[in-house]
């Protein structure tokens, strides 16, 4: 069941059960321990902000809550959330989500709400241990609340699914970084979306199939070797100088930001009449940052191994280390021959709004032109944003012709 198709079944008496047979556990922050959730027999499903939601937050949230949390809250208040057995909030990722989690519990006391707290510091093994214990305690709470124990075999199955998904999606990302025409960005975004909504064999098969197709179409070109190299380097968080053939006539843009829906970008590009091939790579939470998480190790303690995997995600979820993040972004911009960087900012989002000036400066120093785009889930300013994107692309084109 896709996000948009989900039947509206939640109501003010609390969440209802999810799709037949399995309970759905909704999560908001994509760095969720999906393998552990699945090992308890749940379907982990990303709950995302979406357009067309009528604001219904005013009695509970002030207007300076970020546009993302306002949208989620309104979905719940309007009974527009997909059916969920429980909802998982993150802790220590941003102030808005932390507080909204607390408010949610008060306003919707019948909802089953959990919190998973992440380390914000780059504290090595101490961070891994902390997150592992947080995940273990989530696992205990799931068992206690629903009587569904952790199953090692289901964990292994889930870990194998996420591994297949990530390997294929990483390949697709790396391919698009060189030859964006290999797969429309909207297709890439949809594949991630489907998996995050419902990580099952079907959604994984789709991604694997798309990756195999891309591989076949690239087989004759000399691109496979650099693609694999880029993939490995993106995983390591450090790119070196690469030479690869690409179409110098068409602009190459990267998109940075946090919890921006890749689908919203697709809508903006299409409204502005811009080819999706211009968008070479996104660095978004629901895209790149989730895709490039390393698969979890099957050996050893499952909780620790999932924690280690989550903490390997590039640019997130720990907050410390701006310089490291900037240096990775600089690497990407220079080594992937990026002409322009679009920095998306969710309104009232501290992480986006604090980081944007630093990203802008880093990109400008690398000779990359920058467009800062305030964006909210409702795309309330769609036309104006489209016009700004168009003129941004024009600027790049005329620069490239010089």
């Amino acid at each position: 069941m896709s996000y948009e198709q989900a039947t509206i079944q939640s109501n003010s008496q609390g969440f209802r059960l999810g799709v037949a047979e399995k309970l759905t556990l909704g999560y908001i922050y994509p760095h969720a321990p999906v393998e552990i959730i699945m090992a308890h027999g749940f379907v982990p499903s990303l709950v995302r902000a979406r357009p067309g939601v009528v604001g219904a937050f005013e009695a509970s949230l002030q207007t300076f809550a970020c546009s993302y949390t306002r949208n989620l809250f309104s979905q719940r208040a309007n009974d527009q959330l997909p059916p969920l057995a429980a909802l998982l909030f993150p802790g220590n990722t941003c102030d808005s989500l932390l507080n909204v989690g607390d408010i949610w519990r008060v306003r919707f006391p019948d909802d089953t709400v959990f919190r998973l707290t992440y380390p914000a510091a780059n504290q090595g093994e101490a961070g891994v241990h902390f997150l592992a214990e947080e995940i273990r305690s989530l696992s205990n709470m799931l068992e206690k609340a629903f009587g569904l124990p952790f199953s090692l075999s289901e964990f292994e199955e889930a870990a194998s699914l996420t591994r297949q998904f990530r390997e294929s999606i990483q390949f697709l990302y790396a391919s698009r970084a060189i030859l964006p025409q290999v797969l429309p960005y909207s297709k890439l975004a949809a594949l991630i979306h489907t998996f995050l909504m419902s990580p099952d064999q079907k959604s994984v098969t789709e991604v694997v199939r798309a990756a195999s197709q891309a591989q076949r179409s690239l087989a004759k070109s000399k691109s496979l070797e650099p693609i694999n190299r880029i993939r490995q380097q993106l995983l390591k968080g450090h790119l070196t100088r690469l030479t690869f053939a690409h179409d110098t006539d068409s602009p190459r843009i990267a998109v940075a930001g946090g919890m921006i829906d890749p689908g919203a970008l697709v809508a903006l590009l299409s409204a502005a009449g811009i080819s999706e091939n211009a968008l070479v790579i996104d660095l978004l939470t629901f895209g790149f940052k989730t895709a490039f998480t390393r698969p979890c190790d099957m050996e050893g303690d499952p909780f620790e191994s999932v924690a280690r995997s989550i903490l390997s995600s590039p640019l997130e979820p720990t907050q410390e280390g701006l310089e490291m993040r900037l240096s990775f972004v600089r690497d990407i911009l220079t080594n992937l021959a990026i002409d322009g960087l679009v920095i998306c900012e969710q309104s009232f989002c501290d992480p986006d709004e604090f980081e944007a000036p630093s990203l802008e400066a880093a990109a400008s120093k690398s000779g990359v032109v920058v467009l800062r785009l305030p964006i909210d889930p409702e795309l309330s300013d769609r036309e104006r944003l489209g016009v700004r994107l168009q003129s941004f692309l024009e600027t790049i084109k005329s620069r490239n012709q010089r």
Partner: protein
């Protein structure tokens, strides 16, 4: 009676004699900050940071949040925040952060010519997640490295793995300071500083508790000013000296039945940071109507002191359990407790647009506190530094509506 005292007598509020001592102490703090910076030993530090550790290791500290309050009080918030906005920082961000970034950009155009240049930036996220990002921005401008003392938010009782993680943060901090400032850590010295910090906090807490008396010896603005040393000089003799003097004055007022305001009629709780740019006008305006604020949630935030055989464990405990780090429930409990203990008739919640951690959720907490205590409350919206976000007329209308309930 001297002319000046006569004039004070006529006012609706009573000035504290210790204010002059406060000014001297804060002036000294400023000079010490400059000296530390010149000697390459200054760290900027957040208000909830375990300051006892850098102090025990001989590192000077300055508090940008407090400097934000200075910018606010001098009514230059919009201008200094504007410098940060010119650099691309959104007007939606914390105005302490914006003003600090703006002042770091143009110290010569800022009050006191800005804070002295730091050699390190020490952020603890027990008050909010913003501090790390703010210090990251300052780090880019000054080259000073950032250290994050991570105290993940707690729910209920602190778990063993939380304790262990924060313990590792303490160890990492000691390493960071040793390397950055070429200094060493001694438990003995930490105990000395911890004792001084505990003494200061104890005296301060006694001043706060004296406000349970009717009339209250201190009003909101008094406490907001008098809290400066507990924020910036915790762990020093200077802070102890100041709070001894303050306590003496406060107890004197209580003994004589003298209130902070002339004619106390309504006792309210204040929630959140104050609007620094109008602090006297705002609270004295209410004082003229007989409204006093014997308690507030902000100045009650400094409570725990370091003690026990395992000092590191004590640091872990005190700094993880700051109530802002414990969420909405803890804040509501705190408000209800203050309303009861200080015999308050109602409360005002200042919804600070800048500060999500402190303010987001007030609409819900207002209802919970009203339900539990039976006293009325109101939420007013504005900002602590950026007066552009403060609509005086709208705020007065809300407050009038609240006060009418007491007539």
């Amino acid at each position: 009676m001297a002319e000046q005292e006569k004039r004070t007598e006529e006012k609706v509020y009573r000035q504290l004699r210790t204010n002059s001592l406060l000014q001297q102490i804060m002036f000294r703090y400023m000079l010490e900050g400059h000296a530390a910076s010149e000697n390459g030993r200054l760290a900027w530090i957040t208000s909830g940071f375990p300051v006892e550790i850098p102090v025990a290791m001989g590192v000077g500290v300055n508090y940008p949040e407090q400097y934000g309050a200075v910018i606010g009080s001098q009514k230059v918030g919009p201008q200094i925040c504007g410098f940060a906005e010119e650099m691309g920082y959104s007007q939606e961000l914390c105005s302490y952060a914006r003003s600090s970034i703006g002042a770091a950009r143009y110290p010569e155009k800022s009050p006191l010519e800005g804070l002295p240049k730091p050699q390190a930036l020490l952020a603890c996220n027990n008050i909010c997640g913003t501090v790390l990002r703010w210090y990251d921005a300052i780090s880019e401008m000054t080259g000073a490295p950032v250290f994050l003392f991570d105290t993940p938010p707690t729910q209920g009782k602190q778990t063993p793995h939380h304790r262990e993680y924060v313990r590792q943060s303490v160890m990492r901090l000691i390493d960071f300071l040793s390397t950055t400032f070429h200094t060493t850590f001694s438990e003995e010295r930490l105990r000395e500083v911890g004792n001084l910090s505990g003494k200061g906090i104890d005296l301060w807490t006694r001043c706060l508790k004296a406000c349970r008396n009717r009339p209250s010896p201190l009003n909101c603005a008094d406490r907001f000013l008098a809290m400066a040393p507990i924020v910036s000089l915790r762990g020093t003799e200077l802070a102890v000296e100041f709070y001894q003097a303050l306590l003496e004055e406060v107890e004197g007022r209580v003994a004589q039945g003298l209130g902070a305001i002339r004619d106390e009629k309504i006792r309210l709780l204040w929630d959140d940071i104050p609007p620094w740019f109008t602090i006297f006008r705002f609270f004295n305006g209410l004082a003229a109507r007989g409204v006093v604020f014997p308690a507030d949630t902000y100045t009650h935030a400094w409570s725990g002191s370091l003690s026990g055989a395992d000092l590191v464990d004590s640091v872990v405990s005190v700094y993880s359990n700051v109530y802002l780090n414990k969420g909405l429930e803890a804040k509501v409990d705190k408000m209800c407790e203050l309303i009861k203990e200080y015999s308050l008739d109602g409360f005002i919640m200042f919804s600070v647009r800048s500060c999500k951690r402190y303010s987001l959720g007030q609409l819900v907490s207002k209802e919970l506190v009203m339900e539990r205590t039976g006293v009325p409350g109101v939420v007013i919206e504005g900002d602590m530094v950026d007066s552009r976000l403060f609509n005086d007329a709208q705020i007065q209308t809300r407050i009038d509506a609240l006060l009418e309930m007491f007539i």
